[in-house]
Symmetry: C2
Subunit: 209 residues, 2 copies
């Protein structure tokens, strides 16, 4: 929960963002999501050169999945720490992160893959209908894309905002070529605060805030 | 632990950063820390307009505190999720975060403060000699600064990289006026990935990586 003081700081922040943002292509629910990312990162590039890209069905698919208690599968624990816990409790969403699962570490080492990548593959079944959230590892996003192409799984929504210098941008381009609801952004930036802001913003829309 | 694949991606990322960074004022350990933040955020501003600022004793104070198992007190759980767990286990650092402590929520509501701010005040004792890490809430950083001024506590190192539009930048200016080892940065940017990258980088230096 947010205290009154916390809420008043948030309200003031949102007003500053509205005042300073300038022209941008986002409206309605999509703007609420982008604005929350800017609030979490203090980085206006998320409405510009690293701007968000929404599949036409993404917001509705995300709202439906979250309010009906679907799983949320994330690549790193940093995302979980930044999610509003009250939402998860009220809507009964299970949050799954296997990056530190000892079986994943063992398997990834054996196959010369990353842990984040291997953690996605073992959750094909729980990923059906789920919201998949990649905030860190491009390899994890590429693995999910591959799994969808193989018909190994079918998430409701893929949020793909990995960060970094190796394949982050390229993995986002591949996601946009997929016929599935996605939310992603342009370029190298992304990260846990961006990923969790998208989930927190979707829940706020569900609640009518 | 990092797999071989994960390590090779990290190495390639660091090479790209070194190639693209251009002139900057950082050297030695300080550059290793800044470079890891850029690696975590894909944002070169952390070496430029949002550049890191180091107190002259900050790096040594941080290395000493972390390797001798001092407490790490953080403002949000998002930081914990991004810390390398092997380090905490090997060096026996306790990580403390009270943002979701029900007593804190109750007290913050009663006093019309933020939760992050209240969570700092109740840990004055555990904060002595500790590394304090603020990655989100300017109110938490201002509270720690106030506590140091009152001689209520004396951390070994204050890492103050809150993010946001209300008082984030101002809180960092106040930290720099304090006579205590600090690591901070200029302006509104900051966040959990920046904060955790500083701790992870310090541990890497401790290990001689």
């Amino acid at each position: 929960m947010q205290t009154r003081k916390g809420q008043s700081i948030e309200d003031e922040s949102m007003e500053i963002i509205e005042r300073e943002i300038g022209p941008h292509p986002y409206k309605g629910h999509e703007w609420k999501i982008v604005r929350r990312i800017i609030h979490s990162t203090a980085d206006f590039d998320f409405a510009g050169k690293n701007g968000l890209v929404f599949h036409k069905d993404a917001v509705n698919a995300g709202l439906d999945a979250l309010k009906s208690g679907k799983n949320i599968i994330v690549d790193v624990n940093g995302i979980i720490g930044l999610l509003n816990k009250q939402n998860l409790q009220d809507f009964k969403n299970q949050v799954i992160c296997d990056i530190s699962n000892p079986d994943v570490v063992k398997e990834a080492t054996k196959l010369n893959k990353t842990r984040a990548q291997t953690a996605m593959r073992i959750r094909a079944s729980e990923m059906n209908g789920a919201v998949v959230v990649i905030g860190n590892a491009p390899t994890a996003l590429l693995e999910v894309i591959q799994m969808v192409k193989e018909n190994a799984t079918r998430p409701s929504l893929i949020i793909g905002v990995p960060v970094g210098f190796v394949c982050a941008s390229e993995s986002k381009d591949e996601l946009q070529a997929l016929d599935i609801p996605f939310i992603t952004n342009k370029g190298r930036k992304g990260g846990s605060p961006c990923a969790s802001a998208i989930i927190n913003a979707l829940f706020k829309i569900v609640r009518g805030d």
